[in-house]
Each structure stands twice: as C-alpha cells, then as structure tokens.
C-alpha cells in the first residue's frame, strides 16, 4: 500500500502547502495507479547473484585521503599500519613501497591502531575516526587480528561509534584499554575508558563521566603499566553547530590499572576544559606531557607522572583546532622532543617550552596533521598522517617523501563528461577538485589526475558544450569557472541582489547542470539560482526554501572553547538540486534542514512536499534527490539524520510529483543514505549509496542487495551512471573513484533469467583499439588506477557453480565458425571472461634456434559475434558486437585493407611453415637413411649431399642461431616482422609494407619451387635406389598432412 496519509502537525504552510494538500487529495483518488510497480516482480538480489562483478579503482593517490592513526612494528619498522578516516586500514611491509588494504570486510573509518609489540602479528583496531569534523564517519567497535591482518575478530564495544586510542599493557598484553569517544551527535552512555583483562572477551567500563563526555586520549606508563592516563572530553555536534568543552572534560589518572581514578588538576587550567591529549615520554616516563584546550590552550609538562604540571608553550603552531589535532608523539629516544600534529607539523625540542617547525630541507607536505609515528629503533624515521595522505621522513622531519600508493581520497561528488574515453570530475575533502580520464594506456597514473579547483572540493562539472570549461567550488559556495586551456578561474559565486538578505551556502553547496538545456546551471544558497551564461549572471528562481530557523544560524559562535567557523556548520541551506531530464520545468530542491521542494513551472512556484513523507522525522537533512528518468512524475529522495544521532536509512519514491511517497528501505540496507540513482534503461534498477557502502535493487526497491565486489563498506557519497558506457561511477569518501564497468548485464536480470541454469547476458559493444604502451616504469611505489583493458567481456549467469562436466565459452564469427574457445569463471551468479578480440595466432615455421619473436593473432574483424556456452550437454547462445574505435582516424576502407593484408600475411606464414617443415623432414629422412648400416656408401654419400643441399635451403628460410640476442633474420623472421607491424597498426599499411609483402611472397614461392625442383631432380632417383635396397623412400610431407597436424 503506497498511500501515505498526511501526518498531523506537519502540514506545509502557505501556497505551497495548499497545493501539496490538493496533490495529496488527488493521490488518494488515484491511489493504486502505479502500473510499473505493480507489474514488477520481486527479485531478491545479493552478492551471490552479482558474482564476479566488481568495481575498479581509479584513484587518485596523487593526493591522499585523511589518515587518522598510525602504528609501526618496533622490531621491524618496515611494517607500518595506516588507519584512514574513511578508507580502511592499510599495511606496508616495506616501509611504504607497497600497501595492501587489510580491513576490507569491515567498517572503513579507523580511529586507533595499536600493535602488540610483544606479538607484532597481534594488532588492535578501534573503528570510528576521532577527528570529529562535520564530515566524519562512524565506527562499530574494536577489532583484533592475531595474524598480521589476514583475519579480524570484532572484540566488542559495538556501540562506541568512535575509538580514539588503544593502549596495551606491555607486560600483560591481554590487558587492553580503549578510549571510547562515543556518539558525536547525541547523548549516549557507551563511552569512556574500557578495559579488558582477558584479551577482549569481556570489557569493563572503568571510567565514565556522563553521556556527553567520552575519552579522547589515553596512555599507559611504559615502566609502571598500572599507571594509566585518560583525557576525557565533553563535545557535541549538531547539523548547525559544534561544541568542544564543558564540565565533563578533564585529565584523569589511575595507579591501579584502571580500578580507581583521580582527576589531575595541580597546575592545569581551572574551569571548563576542552579536548586534551596526553603522552608520557617513553624514554623517561616520569615526564608526562599534556596538551589542554582551554580558554588559553597550551602545553603542560609534569615531571612526577602527572601529579604536578607546569605550563609550557601556547604557540599558535601547536594549539590549533583541538577537535582536529589534539594528539602528540614524544620521540621514544628523546624525552624532550615532541611532535605535535597541527595545521602543520610542529616540533618541540625543549620539552614543550617552545614549538617550531621541523622543516628544513623540505616541508612540502599537506596541511592538517592527525598522526605521527616515530620509529623506536631510529628516531630519524617518522611517518605522519594528514588530510592529504601519508608522508615519510628519514631526517627527523626535515624533508618528506609522499606515499603515492594509497588511494584513500575522499570524494563528496562525482560527474563525468562525454569525451571518449570519458573523464571523471570530483571534489575532495581538503584536497580540491580533480579530473582524470576513465581509461588510458597502461592505467591511470597519479600524473593523469589534474587539479581543477582548490580548498575542499565538492561538485565539479565540465560544461556539456565544451569540456575545457569546468565548474568547481570550494567550501561555502565559492563557485568558480575554470578555463582548462589557460588554467584561469573566474569567481562566479552568486551574491545577494539589492534588498536581499545575505546568501547562505552549505559547506557542500549544490551545483547542478540542466539535463535539458546545455549550458544552464543551478546553484543553491537558501534560494535556487539559475544561470544560462556559464555563471556570468544568475537568476534567483525561488524564495527561501529552508526553514530559515534563527536558532540554527549562529555559526559565528560555533566551536565551543575554540571558535571554529569554517562554513562547515552553515545551515538552513539548499543541499540538493536536480532538474528532471524529462521536463526542464520540474526542478527538485532538498534542504539541509529537512525540506523537499519541487517546482513544476521552472521556479515560478515551489511546493514543499516533505510533509507527505510518512515516517520521516521532521527536519531530517535531505541528502539527495533524483528525478525519475522514465516518468516525470517519479522522483526518489534520500534523507540523512545522522547528525542528530539517527543512523537509519531513509530512501523514498514518489510517483505523483511528491504528493505521496513510499519508503524503499528494507532490512538489507545499512548506513545513512547519501544518494540514489535510477538506471536510464531499466526503471527498476536503482543504486543507493550510504555511509556503509553501495546497494542495488532490480525490482524498484522491494529487495536490495549489497554490491560488495571491490566496494568495501566505504561511504558512497555520489553515483553517476554513464549514459553512453553504462558504467556506474562511485564517489567514495575514502577509496577515491570506483567504477563498475558496463552494467548492461544487470539490466537483464529478471526472475526468469535468474531461474535458468546458464544465460549469456548482453554487454555493451566492445571497441577495437590499437594502442601503444605507456613506456613508463614508475616502480612499485606508485598507484596506477585500473582501466578496463582492451578485451571484449563476455558476461553470463550461472544459477549454480559449475563443478562436474565440461564447460566452455566459444566465440563464433558471423558464419558460425568457432574462432576462440575460452574457459571462463564458473561461480554461482554473474561470471565474466575476457576475449582479446584476436584470432588464433598464425602457424609459424618452427625454428630449431632460440629466436625469440612472439607472434600474436590477427585483430578480429568488426561485426557481430556469437557466444556459445557449452555446459555439459546444454548449450546457451548469445551475441556481442565488436565495434570500431570511434576515435580511430582510419576509414572503413583503410581498416579493411589492413585486415585483408594481415590475413594474407597470416596465410604466408603458414605457407612458409609448410615449406620449411617439408624441407626439414625430407632432410631428416635423408640423413636417417644415410646413417643406416645397410645403405651402400655411395648411396649414403648421395643422401648426405642431398640432405646438405636441403639444409642450405632450410637455413635461408628460418633462423637457426642460438642465443637470445642472436637476431639472425631469415625469411620466417622477415614475414613475422611485417605481419606484426601491419597487425599492430589500426590503419592502412604503407606502400612500403605492401611492396615488401609482394617481395616476401615471391621469396616463399621461390623456396617452394626450389624444393620442388630438388625433389624431382634428386629425390626420385634416390627413392628408386632406396626402395630397391629394401628401404622406405623419402616421402615429402603433404600440405594436407601438415594442416592436419595443426
């Protein structure tokens, strides 16, 4: 039942409200009209059905993503674990040359990572980042591996939301303390200091202040492990504010392993405190340092294990933004040397009295540092984690090496243009806006990513009429238009018109292109603005669409103890804008304060339809809206309540312009929702991105399944379905851009399809390309984005795994002849097998030498090919198209001449192979007879002479030298070289090549003629004598026999 009665007290007001009421009434009368949905059968879907479908990683790693936590193995400091804010946990075993993700089956926001140094394969990970910016993700407990990250067990604290630190008792590693920050956006009691003494089987909350105060940092005294320090922090975020500090904050100490605690105060600031970081000096644990956020934030030093404190530096370089940087690392070998992550890395060499920069030789590192690790065996070696990724120093921080192998970038949005190959565009947390091609020779290198905007990046679009014009923005609505030819950017941010209030722009301000009018763009403040001249001028096409609630507009005072007004808390703004691709007058606008507005007349009038959504809590942030791609009355919307502590998945559909809504949420979904997209081909195929991954439905939302192929539980913030390539492009907030190539097969999955034992599924046309090689060898420390490759991909579905009996995939040409037989994967669900679009290689003459030419098959002809899957006694048929490269400069006639030339050379090689083989066998027979004891000497001599002449001829046909670089060239090698040269070029063979072919062809004919002459002149007489001597005659190989041997 889709009809939703209007909830009392939630009626929209004014004109918009009345029209909503009318629309609703209409909906009541028309209730039941939704034939598309009625007709749709439920199709349960899960990862088993999706089979081998997986996303590829495009990157970038050119600029990193936020790193939240680091730890390294003391006895083998090449091993470092990197905990990222949203992209999981990564491990290097070679100090940063290569990395592997080791936590992909779990939630991806990491708060703490601590190695049990007495058993370095045991590592504890706390999930949920502690650097609680507006866009921070969530965790779901504490995990442990005992095999170096191969497998993990969740060890509890599931409701802690975020864990800022884990400390292991060095003498009893089964005793572990966890700093649970707890819920960021709501009161919750699952926070404080937790301790286990049995390796995580049971936990006890040993320090608790109140439901608003969590533990931000803790540390164990390395010499007296019963001494534990804990920094408690009262803090709270709302959608429109942040508060750090309060009565709950304070520094606490236990001397009995957490049984009892006392608050440390002597010498510390009085009154309410904010976030605190605490660290004993490992080499001299009498000395303890604390960074304390207070009215005047500063460093403090104790020389008596925290009993008394002396105030140290309050340098601005070391006390910045405590909610983001309150951590420090004391050099394990120098109790006076402290590294303080901050806007930049600060260092004190005098025990916190003063702070300066460690940068001398270099310092070209990304801002915003959150973690620092110093190698205990060599203090020169340091690793830091920043908003821009991981950096390594081997000179105590003087100079830095960027780790180029961590694709952790945090996208907010993504778009794609229509170039071939298409380019993707997206904006990153604190890393600007970027674009890169979706495909390229040898993969997408870090250097293929181009920066197209600064600051924090969000929406980025190429102008549909000219993709060198790019619209990008930085936080708070700073919209810019970039000229890709010159690199110039023009500020095109809308400003208030005469008499209008100040404009309010969200941190993540919506920009949208019109799908119906190329060149028209939308931007949202509290209003919707529209431009048809690339942002040179703007028309305001709405009134204030938000609640404009004064209580939520005090951003100047946001931050708590340390004012923090970065635009991250801007509120009562439009957050999502989308024009219907079917009717340019229909525009949807969702607001961060919970309105969903629609106009059907190009902005003359707007209707707030959010009140029509049953079950949605009031003022829930509208995170996305997707106008239907098949019916202008249809729209989908996602809502996100996590910033009020509501983590549920809200996703809805209307089929009547917003008058009524139906929830599409099921128990299969998890994570607060960011985005929903409808497939432009199959209306029932929907993709949903949430904070915890990607989901899809084949039945319009009745059943959802997680897409898990290379998409971990990472936040999927935006999705594009490429209209030409049918790729699904994901903006992940922690794993960069992920692309699921060609969803054509998914569009065909119906209940009937899924019931079949085997089905060939259609794919998009496969493009024949002749490309070169990139020629670069970056070494192993450089991430290279994955590309689809130049194979046709045959896709098929198997109801069950194929185990018994034969199974193969045959490719058939237009005449039904088998041109290739493949052995594809055989798992349950969707399978894929690549076909390189080449025929079998030519049969080349065998060389007795070690000449190393390798011959590939001719590139396949363009056209339609059949697919035949043979599975036991059953066969299943399908087809696919091999299409010319649309970027190819070669005409059809030129391509055809190349193909016929290649095939001619293909045949020449077999001809030559036959001649060479015939000669060699006749020679061998002659030699064999000559060696026979019964053969008279004169006959033997003649046979040897004949063999010798044959051998001379043979040696002009094939190379016989040994040695890798002998490079002897005879006829065989010349034909191969010509064949390869023509085959690997997409266009017309040169006149030189065509002439060369004719010459080589006559050489083969000459060789054949010479052999024929020798056989008629010599062999016949020899054979007569052999037969009369009772021996077998020399019998030349026939072409039929030769072909049969193939």
């Amino acid at each position: 039942m889709t009809y939703v009665p209007m909830a009392g007290g939630r009626l929209p007001t004014g004109r918009a409200g009345r029209s909503a009421c009318f629309a609703l009434l209409l909906a009541v009368m028309l209730c039941g009209a939704a034939p598309m949905l009625r007709a749709q059968e439920p199709i349960p879907i899960d990862s088993r059905i999706l089979g081998v479908l997986e996303a590829r990683r495009l990157g970038p790693a050119a600029t990193g993503g936020r790193i939240a936590a680091l730890d390294g193995v003391a006895r083998d400091p090449r091993i470092i674990y990197v905990g990222s804010a949203g992209g999981g946990l990564w491990k290097t075993t070679n100090r940063g040359v290569t990395f592997k993700p080791v936590f992909d089956d779990h939630i991806q926001s990491i708060g703490a990572v601590t190695i049990d140094q007495s058993h370095p394969d045991t590592v504890w990970v706390g999930t949920g980042e502690p650097w609680v910016r507006n866009s921070v993700s969530i965790g779901d407990g504490i995990y442990r591996t005992t095999d170096g990250g191969k497998s993990w067990s969740r060890m509890g604290l599931e409701k802690s939301e975020r864990i800022g630190r884990i400390a292991i008792d060095p003498r009893k590693p089964s005793t572990v303390y966890a700093a649970a920050l707890g819920a960021l956006w709501s009161d919750d009691e699952n926070r404080g200091v937790y301790r286990t003494t049995d390796g995580g089987t049971t936990w006890e909350r040993v320090l608790y202040i109140d439901a608003r105060t969590g533990c931000a940092d803790l540390a164990i005294d390395p010499e007296k492990p019963n001494i534990v320090y804990a920094a408690m922090w009262q803090h709270r975020r709302t959608p429109w504010s942040f508060n750090s500090g309060g009565r709950g904050s304070g520094l606490h100490k236990s001397t009995d392993g957490g049984k009892s605690w006392k608050k440390l105060t002597k010498g510390l600031p009085e009154g309410e405190l904010g976030r605190i970081a605490v660290a004993p000096a490992p080499s001299s644990p009498n000395i303890v340092y604390a960074f304390v956020e207070a009215d005047k934030s500063a460093f403090y030093r104790s020389t008596d294990r925290g009993e008394h404190w002396t105030r140290g530096s309050n340098s601005a370089s070391a006390v910045g933004r405590p909610f983001y940087f309150a951590t420090m690392t004391v050099d394990p070998n120098d109790e006076h040397r402290i590294y303080k992550p901050d806007f930049s890395l600060a260092v004190s060499t005098d025990g916190g009295e003063t702070f300066g920069s460690p940068f001398r030789e270099g310092g070209n590192v990304h801002a915003d540092v959150h973690a620092a690790w110093v190698d205990p065996s060599n203090s020169n070696n340091i690793a830091i984690g920043t908003d821009g990724g991981l950096y390594l120093s081997n000179d105590r921080g003087s100079s830095w090496q960027f780790v180029r192998n961590l694709p952790l970038s945090q996208f907010y949005h993504v778009s794609a243009d229509m170039a071939i190959p298409y380019n993707v565009y997206g904006g990153l947390q604190d890393n600007g806006s970027w674009c890169a091609p979706s495909d390229g020779i040898g993969g997408i290198a870090n250097s293929d990513w181009k920066n197209v905007g600064w600051g924090d990046g969000f929406h980025v679009f190429a102008d549909p009429l000219d993709n060198t014009i790019v619209y990008a923005e930085s936080q708070g609505g700073n919209i810019m238009r970039r000229n890709g030819r010159t690199g110039e950017t023009k500020d095109i941010k809308p400003v208030p018109e005469e008499g209008e209030p100040e404009l309010r722009f969200n941190w993540n301000t919506p920009i949208a292109l019109s799908p119906t009018e190329p060149g028209a763009i939308y931007v949202g403040s509290q209003f919707v603005h529209r431009s048809t001249d690339r942002g040179e001028s703007w028309s305001r096409i709405s009134d204030d669409l938000t609640t404009n609630d004064p209580a939520k507009l005090n951003q100047l005072k946001s931050g708590g103890m340390t004012v923090d007004n970065s635009s991250a808390e801007n509120h009562c703004t439009v957050y999502a804008i989308a024009e219907s691709p079917l009717d340019g007058n229909i525009v949807w606008a969702g607001t961060d304060d919970g309105n969903l507005q629609v106009t059907r007349d190009g902005g003359k009038s707007w209707t707030n339809v959010v009140g029509n959504i049953q079950g949605l809590p009031r003022n829930t942030w509208c995170s996305g809206v997707e106008p239907g791609r098949h019916d202008p009355a249809v729209a989908f919307a996602t809502f996100d309540g996590h910033m009020t502590g509501d983590m549920r998945t809200y996703v809805y559909r209307t089929t009547d312009h917003g008058a009524t809504w139906r929830s599409l949420a099921t128990d299969s979904l998890s994570g607060f929702a960011h985005v929903i997209r409808q497939d432009p081909v199959n209306p029932h195929l929907l993709f949903l991105g949430t904070e915890l991954g990607l989901f899809l439905t084949l039945d319009g939302g009745m059943n959802w399944g997680r897409f898990s192929g290379n998409v971990p539980r990472v936040a999927v913030r935006d999705i594009v379905i490429h209209p030409r390539e049918s790729d699904v492009i994901l903006a992940t907030h922690g794993r960069g851009i992920l692309i699921i190539d060609d969803i054509t097969p998914l569009r065909q999955l119906t209940e009937a399809t899924l019931a079949k034992s085997a089905v060939v599924l259609d794919s998009r046309p496969s493009v024949l390309r002749t490309t070169g090689s990139s020629g670069v060898r970056y070494g192993d420390e450089e991430f290279v984005g994955e590309v689809p490759g130049d194979a046709a991909v045959i896709t098929y579905y198997l109801r069950d795994r194929h185990i018994f009996g034969e199974m193969s995939v045959e490719i058939l040409d237009a005449g039904g002849k088998v041109v290739s037989t493949l052995s594809g994967s055989k798992r349950k669900g969707i399978n894929r097998v690549p076909w390189l679009m080449r025929m079998k290689p030519p049969r080349v003459a065998v060389t007795p030498g070690t000449e190393g030419r390798f011959v590939t098959g001719p590139i396949a002809a363009e056209g339609t090919y059949g697919v035949r899957i043979i599975k036991g006694k059953d066969t299943t048929l399908g087809s696919f198209v091999v299409a010319p490269d649309p970027n190819s400069p070669h005409s059809a006639a030129e391509r055809e001449l190349r193909r016929t030339t290649v095939m001619k050379l293909y045949g020449m090689q077999a001809d030559l192979a036959y001649v060479a083989e015939s000669i060699a066998r006749a020679r061998n027979q002659a030699t064999g007879h000559a060696d026979a004891p019964t053969v008279p000497k004169d006959l033997a001599d003649e046979l040897r002479g004949f063999a010798s002449r044959l051998d001379s001829l043979y040696k002009t046909l094939v190379s016989t030298s040994e040695g890798r670089l002998a490079r002897e060239e005879q006829l065989r090698e010349r034909v191969i070289d010509l064949y390869s040269a023509v085959n690997e070029y997409g266009g017309r063979p040169s006149e030189t090549q065509l002439a060369r072919m004719r010459i080589l062809e006559s050489r083969i004919a000459e060789a054949r003629a010479r052999f024929r002459t020798m056989t008629t002149e010599t062999m016949e007489s020899l054979n007569t004598r052999l037969v009369s001597g009772g021996l077998e005659p020399i019998r030349p190989l026939t072409r039929e026999e030769f072909d049969k041997e193939a």
Binding site: T93, G805, E806, A845, F854
Partner: protein, 277 residues
C-alpha cells in the same frame, strides 16, 4: 559420470547442515576419496598423462603433463613449436626455456624445485597426509562465492598453510589457497578446480584456474587424461647435455601424441589422480 543436483538433494543437505557440528575431518576425507572414486582406485594409479592446453593473456599453449610415482613430474608446454619443459625426478628439478635464448636444461633453484616436487604428488595432500608431513584440520563450514563449502587447513612441514575448499554437497575440491613465503614476502596462490570428469572411474578436474595474489595467472584445460601407461623414468631426469628439444622440428619428446595409442599392457588397472595441484 552424470551428476544431478535436485531440490530434493538440497533439502536433504539442509538437514545435514543443521547437524554441521557433527561433521568430522575423517568423514570429510572419506567422502572426498569416495567422490574421486575411492581410495583404492586413487592409489592404483602408477602414472598419469594429461594432455590439454594452458592459456594466459590470450596465449594458448598445448600442454602435456606427466606424473609417475613416487614423485616424478614433467610439464611440456609448446609455444610456436618451441617446447618449454619443467620437470622433477624426485631428486632434482630442472627446466628448459627456449624463449630465453637457450635450449639447454637448467637446474631450478631449490625453492622452486621444492614447490615442483609438491606438485608431483599425484594424490595431493589429502591422501596419506601424515606420511607426507601434512597436518590437516577441519576449519569449518563457509560459503565460497555463493557455494557452501567445507574448509580444510593444511599445514606442511615448513609450516606453510594451504586452505582447501571442498564442495559441501559433493565433497570434491573446488579451490585451494596456498600462502607461501618467497624471499620473506608472502605470495598467495589460488587454484580453482572444475570440470570434473571421470577417467577410468576416477573423478578428475579437467579445468584448473590459477590466481597469484588475486590476479589471474593461468588457466589449464585438460582434454585427455591417460592412466597407467608405461613411462620411462629417464624422461624426468635432467638431460646431461643441451637440447631436450630436438634440433629440427620433429615432435617434442616422449609419446606426446595422444592419437597414437601405444600398446598399453595394463590398461585395466584403472586408477586415480585427483586433478588438483
């Protein structure tokens, strides 16, 4: 051997699943032997010759694999008429790679030879595991790519661990994942088995797909498998002088032509050989 999977079978298995804890390693192994044709049949195999093709990256190479007890093993792969040979005679592993510029046989590094020797085990680690130095543990039930499996953890003498996935329904091997250390770095090799067909009553995988560190690294498809043909032990021994490949384009080596059925003295002593390794 016809193999059917009916809803009834599935129902019956659902019942088995509810008492999953009752399954023991011994039962699983017994069912595995049975699935291959029985332990006696497995052990009666003296030699095995497999003829097929390997393919990787679009290159297809005709392939012949020879096994002879106790642990002799030879693989010949032919590319453009040149024959690559890799072999182990139980004492020494060697190879010929003509594409590297020489047709001389060269001795393999010990580490590679050891791995080759493991592959020369006709029966695989599930048969006579103790004698071969393997420890096998039942590592529980799981789901592998949508198919219910039993997992066996196999540890060799060097404490290297291989995980074997057996189809819960048939108890036949579906996949193994071997983790080995090479120069201090762990390398994971997956082998996926399918296309099981009966050969003289023995159920042998005719398709083997391998992946190294998750990336496809090869595919072997077997067309013909012959059991208990006579095989000279000398063919497994490293040639003393160059050239195991003939100097002229004659056929590669020992009895490669499956169409020439040489007289087989004891054709009727059919045997085993599970297709793994």
């Amino acid at each position: 051997m016809a193999y059917t999977r009916s809803a009834l079978v599935l129902l019956a298995l659902a019942g088995v699943a509810s008492q999953a804890e009752a399954v023991t390693l011994e039962e699983i192994l017994a069912r595995n032997y049975q699935a291959h044709g029985g332990l006696d049949r497995i052990k009666s195999v003296r030699t095995m010759k497999m003829i097929g093709a390997s393919s990787f990256g679009g290159v297809e190479a005709p392939l012949t694999i020879y096994f002879k007890r106790p642990r002799m093993f030879r693989v010949e792969a032919t590319v453009q008429g040149k024959v690559f040979v890799t072999a182990h005679d139980g004492a020494l592993g060697w190879s010929i790679n003509p594409f590297l510029g020489s047709s001389d046989a060269v001795r393999l590094p010990d580490k590679d030879a050891e791995e080759l020797l493991e592959q020369g085990d006709i029966d695989g680690p599930l048969v006579d595991s103790k004698e071969k130095g393997y420890t096998i543990e039942f590592a529980g039930e799981d789901e592998m790519e949508g198919t219910k499996v039993y997992k066996l953890k196999i540890t060799n003498r060097k404490q290297e661990v291989t995980t074997m996935y057996l189809d819960r329904e048939s108890c036949i091997e579906l996949k193994q994942i071997a983790v080995k250390k090479s120069q201090g770095v762990e390398v994971t090799t997956e082998t996926i088995y399918s296309d099981y067909k009966a050969v003289d009553g023995l159920m042998i995988a005719h398709s083997l797909e391998t992946r190294a560190n998750g990336q496809p690294s090869g595919q072997i498809t077997l067309k013909t498998i012959e059991l208990n043909r006579d095989m000279e032990s000398s063919m497994f021994v490293m040639p003393k002088i160059a050239s195991a490949a003939p100097a002229t384009p004659e056929k590669p080596s020992v009895e490669t032509n499956s169409t020439k059925t040489t007289k087989d003295v004891k054709t009727k002593t059919t045997k085993k050989g599970k297709g793994k390794k």
